[in-house]
């Protein structure tokens, strides 16, 4: 009885889901075939097949330095955001102090505040501090943007760790630091690593803040793409985009796999 009406209902749901996925993914995936075009302009559908745009990407110093810069910034951001974000998660999940909820909100605010506002704010401050245009400035800015992802991931892991395990470790003679290193950290490691990978991605494809904080001498890959697209529309951009996409997807999948390694319970 129920199946007779549920069947078309389900079908509709699946169709709607597929359509949504298509609308979300198609514009992204369209660059992949475009990057293998043989023609000199960005066209869809692509004409012929060639890998010469990839060759250009690798050999052109503008692209390769951008690539190296992006990797550097993303790596440093991941390290810094993971360290700070893990500590912040520890404090807000385990700590008992007034203003805890407010602090939590503050840490997560980069997720809510429009990026352009953050970018303008950071730019005006960093110029004064002589941090604009430097790798340090960009890493700091990206760390602020990436930290919420670490905090969310680590906090989720931390909530699954039985508080009694930490108390047990203390009663057995481990001080707070050793308790963290020997017991808590190993148990939340999947969350920490997932957070780190998300932080890497956040920095890796960040463009708005980067546009403000980079200079002609120091550009990350997304900023380089932005500049190139505005000047010459050359299929190398599609090749770079595909490469970015591949790296991001790989890391995202890695993060999902890592996060699934729930601590042995």
């Amino acid at each position: 009885m129920t199946d007779s009406w549920r069947q078309p209902h389900r079908l509709l749901l699946v169709a709607l889901g597929a359509l949504t996925v298509f609308f979300l993914l198609a514009p992204t995936l369209v660059v992949v075939p475009m990057s293998f075009t043989a023609s000199n302009s960005l066209t869809f559908p692509p004409e012929g097949f060639s890998t010469r745009w990839y060759e250009k990407m690798v050999t052109d110093p503008q692209w390769s330095t951008g690539f190296v810069n992006s990797a550097k910034v993303a790596f440093l951001t991941a390290v810094l955001a993971t360290a700070l974000g893990t500590l912040a998660a520890l404090g807000t999940v385990r700590g008992r102090f007034p203003g805890r909820n407010g602090l939590q909100l503050l840490i997560l605010s980069p997720l809510i505040v429009p990026v352009i506002i953050i970018a303008i704010g950071m730019f005006s401050v960093f110029v004064r501090w002589k941090l604009a245009g430097s790798i340090a400035g960009l890493v700091l800015a990206h760390t602020a943007l990436a930290m919420p992802f670490v905090v969310v991931n680590v906090a989720t892991s931390l909530r699954t760790v039985d508080r009694n395990l930490e108390l047990a470790a203390q009663s057995l003679g481990a001080g707070p630091v050793r308790t963290f290193r020997r017991i808590t950290l190993p148990l939340i490691l999947p969350g920490v690593m997932a957070g780190g990978l998300f932080a890497f991605i956040t920095s890796w494809d960040e463009v708005v803040v980067s546009i403000f904080l980079t200079s002609a001498r120091f550009r990350t890959l997304p900023v380089e793409m932005w500049e190139q697209v505005r000047q010459v529309v050359d299929p190398t951009v599609a090749a770079v985009a595909t490469t970015l996409l591949a790296v991001t997807t790989t890391i995202l999948l890695l993060a999902l796999v890592v996060r699934r390694q729930a601590p042995a319970r």
């Binding site: 009694n164 395990l165 203390q170 009663s171 003679g173 190993p186 148990l187 319970r265």
Partner: protein, 390 residues
């Protein structure tokens, strides 16, 4: 001092060769209190525990026993009062320097470490040598009869095995105190009973001083040297199981430990003891009882008689009128045969119920439902207590 003790422990000292004076109490609580925002969880607890003693904190949930234990462990800071372990004030000593082994109800084994690594943990924290750790972990595994399971992870062990490992981990460093928070609560009845004896035997064998928290009165009676009955943040009564069972100081204790017949009424004092009066029923109260309860004339009171101290006799039995005996007419409502005992549910003339337990095979007469009988008990077998609800 505490750091020193930790290292002697790790260096292989057994509990017995401690330099302490043997007569110094292992634990002293004085006026211990803990208030949370909206409740007074612990409200002035005094307790002195001898070296090697097994003391159980028994009480219903919310009575303050677990909070007391957590304050001893150092997980919760007391609001008032002091805690002394081996004569040292623990107020400002963090948990990891208290040298106290703790066993949790959910075992709290480290899931990412093997059983052997779990047991080795406190030894590593005390910087024992590798060979020392290896030897003592093997000893501890043997102690809990789990040799050969050292390389298993906690999730590969049964509940009973996990609790044994938790026990081994808590005793391997010969702590000054062993604290257990309902350690057997999660296990089924049979396993729980077996482990009660095992925990008791091993603790004695090690000479460990144990503070044990439970809400299971039978477990408390089985295992403890002394029991502290907790109620509303205070110790209501402290004593051996027999003391609590035979001489409860309050209705709460009488009701909490074992089965009780509670006969409520007004206390009437006379020269040699007094009477408990209830409607037109009056029962004699022994002078010793009157002394102990220190009740004023006419106050609400109750006498408590254990079901096995009650006897059922025929209405015309001479025992009904014997000196030193209280009697009341009753009717048998249910006569239940439970194997080794018979249980009778009786009704008194005023409608109150009474329970009687008698051994089967004592040659006593067997009663049937509907029988009119005399219910008697020795005056000295009843305990007089105040009735706070009276």
């Amino acid at each position: 001092m505490s750091a020193l003790r930790g290292s002697t422990g790790a260096a292989g000292g057994a509990t017995t060769d401690r330099p302490d004076q043997p007569d110094r109490p292992a634990l002293v609580l004085r006026g211990l209190a803990k208030s949370f925002v909206d409740v007074q969880a612990v409200d002035g607890v005094d307790l002195e525990v001898r070296q090697g003693e097994f003391v159980t904190l028994l009480g219903p949930s919310g009575s303050g026993k677990t909070t007391t234990l957590r304050m001893i462990a150092g997980f919760t800071r007391q609001s008032a009062g002091t805690i002394e372990i081996d004569g040292v004030d623990m107020t400002h000593v963090p948990p990891h320097r208290r040298d106290v082994g703790m066993i949790f109800q959910n075992y709290a084994l480290f899931p990412h470490l093997t059983a052997a690594q779990n047991i080795a943990f406190p030894l590593e924290m005390r910087r024992a040598t590798r060979s020392e750790i290896k030897r003592r972990v093997a000893e501890a595994l043997a102690l809990v009869k789990l040799e050969g399971l050292g390389s298993r992870y906690p999730r590969q062990l049964s509940g009973g095995q996990q609790q044994r490992i938790a026990f081994a981990r808590a005793v391997v460093f010969h702590p000054r105190l062993l604290l257990m928070d309902e350690p057997l609560g999660a296990l089924d009845k049979k396993l729980r009973e077996a482990l009660q004896l095992e925990v008791m035997h091993i603790s004695r064998q090690l000479g460990a001083t144990v503070i044990y928290v439970t809400h299971d009165q039978e477990e408390a009676l089985v295992m403890s040297d002394r029991i502290a009955i907790f109620s509303r943040g205070r110790i209501e009564q402290l004593g051996r199981g027999e003391d609590l069972y035979d001489r409860p100081v309050s209705l709460f204790v009488a009701d909490f430990i074992g089965e009780s017949n509670i006969l409520r009424g007004r206390f009437e004092r006379d020269g040699e003891g007094g009477w408990l009066a209830r409607g037109n029923l009056r029962w004699r109260v022994a002078a010793a009882q009157e002394d102990r309860a220190a009740l004023s004339d006419g106050s609400a009171a109750a006498i408590v008689v254990r079901p096995e101290r009650l006897r059922i006799v025929g209405l015309n039995d001479p025992a009904v009128a014997a000196p030193g005996v209280n009697a009341v007419e009753a009717s048998v409502r249910d006569a239940l045969y439970l194997g080794s005992i018979r249980k009778y549910e009786l009704m008194l003339p005023d409608g109150q119920a009474a329970t009687v337990r008698r051994q089967v095979g004592g040659g006593e007469r067997e009663w049937q439902s509907g029988d009119r009988v005399g219910l008697i008990w020795a005056v000295n077998d009843a305990v007089l207590v105040a009735d706070p609800n009276g």
